[in-house]
Amino acid sequence: MVTHLVFWGLAVVAVLAGVAVFVVNSMARASYSLALSFIAVGLQVLLLQQLYVGVLVILMMVMEMAIMAVYMNMFMGMNPAMMSMNMVHGARHALPVSVGVFLLLAAGALFAPWPSRRGSLPEDVTAALGTELMGPKMLAMAAVGVVMAATIVSGVVLAAHRTRYDRFGDDLRRRPAADPQPGGVGR
């Protein structure tokens, strides 16, 4: 009973914090409203006994929202003094569409004929969920993660304005490197 109450309470918090994302007037507040919404969802997942997934939702989303807030504030040059940014763009079309989508999804979740549990809870729910989702492709999925990380790093390297020729000269022999500010390992 208590679990049910907490679950629905968290659901209300998640939705209200989600709405707040579009109501508040600054990027920092919008980002952290979204973080709060995700934390509530993560706690709901914890209540569903998916402990690993639940904690991971909280970890990833807090970090992502922290980074998003920082980037948004850096790129838009926002400080608390400039708090009056409208978080809704093209409200006339966007609002009805998003409310409609929300209602549709919520109705789907509520009225779908969910199957009742057969058998008992597996020993390790996280492993069971992973096997169910990925099956024999587990190794491929793990490798894809590494490839994605490598792609991000190489993307940043390729996009960087300064190259090694700027640092070491055209013959790559200049030492020490011409950096605007020296780094910590004396490259």
Binding site: G77, N79, A81, P176, P180, Q181, P182, G184, G186
Partner: protein, 370 residues
């Protein structure tokens, strides 16, 4: 009254002071720092952190305005003292303590202030003006921030108007507060003597003490508070004439600094100044090298001036800049503010602060450029 009285007594025993030095009154500032330390008080780093505002010397109109602004930013309970000379410090600190402890008076002060303490941010609120390309070729907003005249471990009276990309100083203009005001003959704020206008040759102990003071600032900015405390203690020994204690401690400090590979790693390769650059900027020729070299140079000069044995190839005491403004005591090198502005450009605020502290500033010259 019992609880709040006990709280007030306990709080007052651990007060924090924000010390403001009017150019030319460094001996008063040092006396305030020393006697506050003896009472177990600590130095504040910002007005929000301070209970006592201690103004050393009588500020000119420009600095007086800054002081008035800072006074409004003290959260309270608060006390302001104006100390004119080193021998008046003890009485002034007693007075500040009494003011802080007087709870009814502080209540009245608090009630008299408008609102729940809305104060100006010290760096100016972060207003952005325009954008321009930063060193990585990204479009960045430019923030205008005034560094000084009141910052912890900052040369008295110096003001740097900086244009920041993030916390990177792209451009800076230097100035000195209240240039040309009474008390500063010839417009050159004298840091080397505690006189008003009258040029007096500082003795060797005083010169050594000032080097130690500058070493303490650099070490504090590098985040090594213990070593900075040691440098301050040596400074105080020198000023009260305990030469032998000072020399022993100075040798210990030099060993500690030289052995710290972490400090060396942090200060190496920043703020490199070759000798032709120094000549062009009008800086003393013994400031060559990076911040690490200049820290060791300061320690060497302190050792020489204190009369101890010079460790390395004896560098003479700081060279005298030719054509220094009148009013500056002979033997005190004068740092042109424009040179300070020039050497910090292109560095981030933290590194720039280290570089400024490494210049071993004794006196600031007049601003010659526009």
């Amino acid at each position: 009254m019992g609880v709040s009285g006990a709280l007030a007594r306990l709080a007052t025993r651990h007060a924090h002071l924000l010390v403001i030095e009017v150019p030319g009154h460094w001996l008063t500032r040092v006396a305030v720092e020393r006697q506050a330390g003896v009472r177990g008080w600590r130095l504040a780093v910002s007005p929000a952190d301070a209970d006592i505002l201690a103004v050393c010397g009588s500020p000119g109109p420009e600095l007086a305005l800054v002081v008035a602004n800072l006074w409004e930013q003290l959260p309270g309970p608060r006390a302001r003292i104006d100390v004119a000379a080193p021998e008046l410090v003890a009485a002034a600190l007693d007075q500040a303590e009494a003011t802080l402890r007087d709870t009814p008076r502080q209540r009245r002060d608090s009630a008299g202030r408008d609102g729940p303490g809305r104060d100006e941010a010290p760096g100016g609120d972060a207003a952005l003006a325009h954008g321009s390309e930063d060193r990585d070729g990204l479009e960045m907003d430019v923030l205008h921030v005034r560094l000084g005249p009141v910052l912890p471990d900052w040369p008295a009276g110096l003001v740097l108007r900086t244009h920041l990309h993030g916390d990177l100083i792209v451009e800076a203009q230097a100035g000195v507060v209240d240039v040309g005001q009474g008390g500063l003959a010839g417009g050159a704020p004298v840091v080397g003597g505690d006189t008003s206008g009258e040029a007096r040759r500082p003795d060797a102990g005083e010169l050594a003490a000032q080097r130690c003071d500058n070493v303490a600032r650099l070490l504090a900015l590098a985040g090594w508070s213990d070593a900075a405390g040691l440098a301050r203690a040596i400074r105080d020994h020198l000023l009260i004439g305990e030469r032998s204690a000072a020399t022993t401690e100075l040798a210990r400090l030099r060993r500690r600094v030289r052995r710290s590979w972490l400090l060396r790693w942090s200060l190496r390769r920043v703020g490199l100044l070759p000798s032709d650059e120094l000549a062009r900027l009008g800086l003393a020729p013994n400031l060559t090298g990076d911040v690490w070299d200049r820290l060791n140079g300061m320690l060497d000069r302190a050792t020489i001036a204190a009369g101890g044995p010079a460790g390395v190839a004896a560098r003479g005491p700081a060279g005298v800049a030719a054509g220094g403004p009148t009013g500056v005591a002979a033997g005190v090198p004068v740092t042109p503010p424009a040179a300070v502005a020039s050497v910090v450009s292109g560095w981030d605020v933290a590194t720039a602060r280290l570089i400024v502290a490494s210049l071993d500033i004794a006196a600031l010259g007049v601003v010659t450029d526009g």
